[in-house]
Subunit: 269 residues, 4 copies
């Protein structure tokens, strides 16, 4: 590795907050595979993180954009298209934040205005992103759009709280818009349901260490790392996966297919 899988391709990566971010790993891998990219994140997130440094390292222009604003998505994609010299072969959505979790509200006692905000930031942003790309005709034929998700969209992890619902909504947007993008331009839209990953965002979830270890023990291959995820995203952006769309793809070391792992019960294999 690498193998120039994305040679000549252009992409936009959202969500590279800091060194621990999955999007940071994806950005590095995409460039190593021959792609040229732009980076983006919410203005407020950019102040905390290290995205500028990453941009310099990868020779990638950095444009701020508030993911809840269609206008800012528009401006981001216009600037990126100009900077990269053409439409995008791939786009990564790696955005999520729960106000109720952050403020310590229990799932049975959420503030519903905050919930609306959570859904807007973590899920509707994905629809806004795709709608903007669609209107600008900014995706190349056969391009690939990905968003990162989590299995809480299908099964209950109580500490994940309203983010579970946001991820279910996000995955639905992927399918729904995937139909239109596929029909119009053979653009693929998929979500990747990733193992719990030690990122700045992930670690904010209460009990993260406990369910990280739980998932590690449950999964026959152990948890998929951010590195693993970056490689998988490269593959989903490449021309090797042109017939895959509207799927939620588990990238989790087998966690999703396990009922129980004897290791959890302290038994031999």
């Amino acid at each position: 590795m690498p193998h120039q899988l994305l040679a000549g391709k252009r992409g936009v990566i959202f969500g590279a907050l800091d060194e621990s971010s999955i999007a940071t790993h994806v950005a590095r891998h995409c460039v190593a595979e021959g792609a040229r990219i732009t980076l983006t994140n919410a203005p407020v997130a950019m102040r905390f993180g290290s995205i500028q440094k990453l941009g310099e390292e990868l020779n990638a222009p950095v444009f701020p954009a508030d993911a809840t604003s269609t206008d800012e998505w528009k401006s981001l994609f216009e600037q990126s298209r100009e900077a990269l010299g053409g439409p995008f072969d791939f786009v990564l959505h790696s955005i999520g934040m729960s106000l109720n979790v952050r403020k310590g509200k229990h799932y049975t006692d959420v503030n519903h205005e905050w919930m609306q905000k959570t859904l807007d930031i973590s899920a509707i942003s994905f629809h806004k992103m795709m709608q903007t790309l669609y209107h600008l005709d900014a995706m190349a034929d056969g391009g690939s759009i990905l968003a990162l998700s989590y299995i809480a969209a299908q099964r209950v992890f109580p500490d994940y709280s309203e983010m579970a619902d946001a991820k279910a909504l996000l995955e639905s947007f992927g399918r729904s818009f995937g139909y239109h993008f596929g029909t119009k331009k053979k653009v693929r839209v998929n979500t990747i349901s990733q193992s719990p990953t030690r990122t700045t965002a992930g670690s904010g979830v209460k009990g993260f260490n406990d369910f990280f270890s739980y998932a590690e023990t449950m999964s026959p291959l152990g948890n998929a790392t951010a590195e693993d995820c970056a490689r998988y995203c490269v593959m989903m952006f490449s021309d090797y996966t042109k017939a895959v769309t509207m799927q939620n793809l588990y990238h989790d070391g087998g966690f999703s297919a396990m009922g129980v792992n004897p290791a959890l019960l302290g038994q031999p294999e």
Copy 2:
């Protein structure tokens, strides 16, 4: 039929707009099975419909409530608890409305403020409802909460537009809150994924007749009717299903399990 399956039980039914509503059928069946109920709907919906007449027929108090307002849910449940003389054994959520569909906006060109409204009315209302019930401790032990959904939550029916995403969110709320309600009071929370049904709401969807017939042809038993659905809801409210929770239950004549029906292709069985 009936068999007094709900004798002595108390319930609240949301969404009985008019004679064609599934909730109207559910209300009649619940009362026929021995339950006492209250009826409710949004004030604006109550003006168009015939809920008052239904209330008289079923000897059921009618209380208006805007499903997007936690305060109104609270007031509704307090009034209902008083009217019925105790906590609820069952509650039906049958609420859904898409502003973008109603206003003819294509899925690739939605107004996102309207989408937020759609999600609030059609999905977040379910969370608000459950949170209110939880805080008021208004559910009886082992009670049953249902919401009506549609298979567009899993597979794309383009004309169903953003309602698909709303249903995916609704189903997720059912699972997420179901854990808490189950753990605390053995209350069950499930969603029923019903065949397309000729209701006033359903018929508003573009191309409804086409996909009604499509589903009718695809389903080995034909589409499940509103009557069928009412009977199934009675079962899910009864004591025969006390171990079923956090499920999305297809009630659809087999549609969801079909890949293709030879009848669609004009072939013999």
Copy 3:
């Protein structure tokens, strides 16, 4: 309870080995709900168990039948139809046995002839049963066929070994034949995916106690009992569920919808 839900209905129950069998509970509940039934089991199983006593208690003729023999299914259904005076409204398949598990062969070291036997007894028997019913035209219009399954068909429980594969096959037969039976006679075919249950058969699985407790802790409502299952089967045999077919229905206290239960990790809710 009961409510004469099955008044006037005729049924055949396979698999009532002894007092702990789910089928025994189902048989009692069906009769209590007004049905008349016949009982059956493999000749070899009948020697160990107490089916004759159950037959006397329930006034139910008992006919032996080897579930792997189409001829014996035929004879059983002919005798039962005559004894009950007409075609069947419901049939329960509750049959499963793994030779490799019984003989202590690890999943990575099975004897494939025994595996063929396991599949024949535990899954193909279901196809043989339905094919026989179909040929004899022995199901009443709108009747209901059930088989018992387990979530190992979808997720890995290593100790369940090849029975997982048998259950996946069983569920597929339910869907496949359900199409034909639905189209021809509006007969419903479903499988019920039941919690681990302390039966004579279940307890034979290595580590049963461990995964029984695991499931008990994971499930918000606790494990569904054999009693619960019997009530659910009654409902699925009744006229309240006439539009449900080709489904695998989780009857498991919510287990299938859980990712992790904080109780498993020793955390508060």
Copy 4:
């Protein structure tokens, strides 16, 4: 393309009957990506096909093996390991045949001995293959095993008949053995659920043309071709997917995520 994704890797490909076979495409792509392989098929199938010619073209030794015989799997893998000079990084199982379909038996009138044969050839062969690889310790650490499947394992396509059940069983074997192979050697086991494909085997299914066109119209990207599938298999064999295991991966142009395509109903998008 290609990108030397499999440089230095060794693999075994089962099922390259003739030019139309998916396995033939996979074999060519694997070699083009730098792998060295052996080819194999049932002796009877080898007589009809053109595997010898393919072997010469790809410089790949060809060894006959009856997939229902553990002894022949053993001999095949021993010869292949010797020919390739080490353990396998990837193995493809592309085997399926229904005796009842071939002999024109309707699904409601199958010969159950033939069904047993069908399951043995099309599904149990996969377990035998994995068990043999496991015992011989013939997979390299982190290797990848694939089998080809079809969505009939989840939804009913009546013409596909008992092959649907065989595929459900096949997919279950993938999950079940995937746990053991993952735990022991980080070997991944997955199944690919491919669009209907015009192969010699596929075309034998009654009504193939009808459901090929149906799937083509339903899928936003159209049906995935054998070429597409070969590229996807390369990816799943490569180091870009090392955290994916025990999954059934839809490779179908979006078919599996569609409820209805307006194009099917003669509507505009």
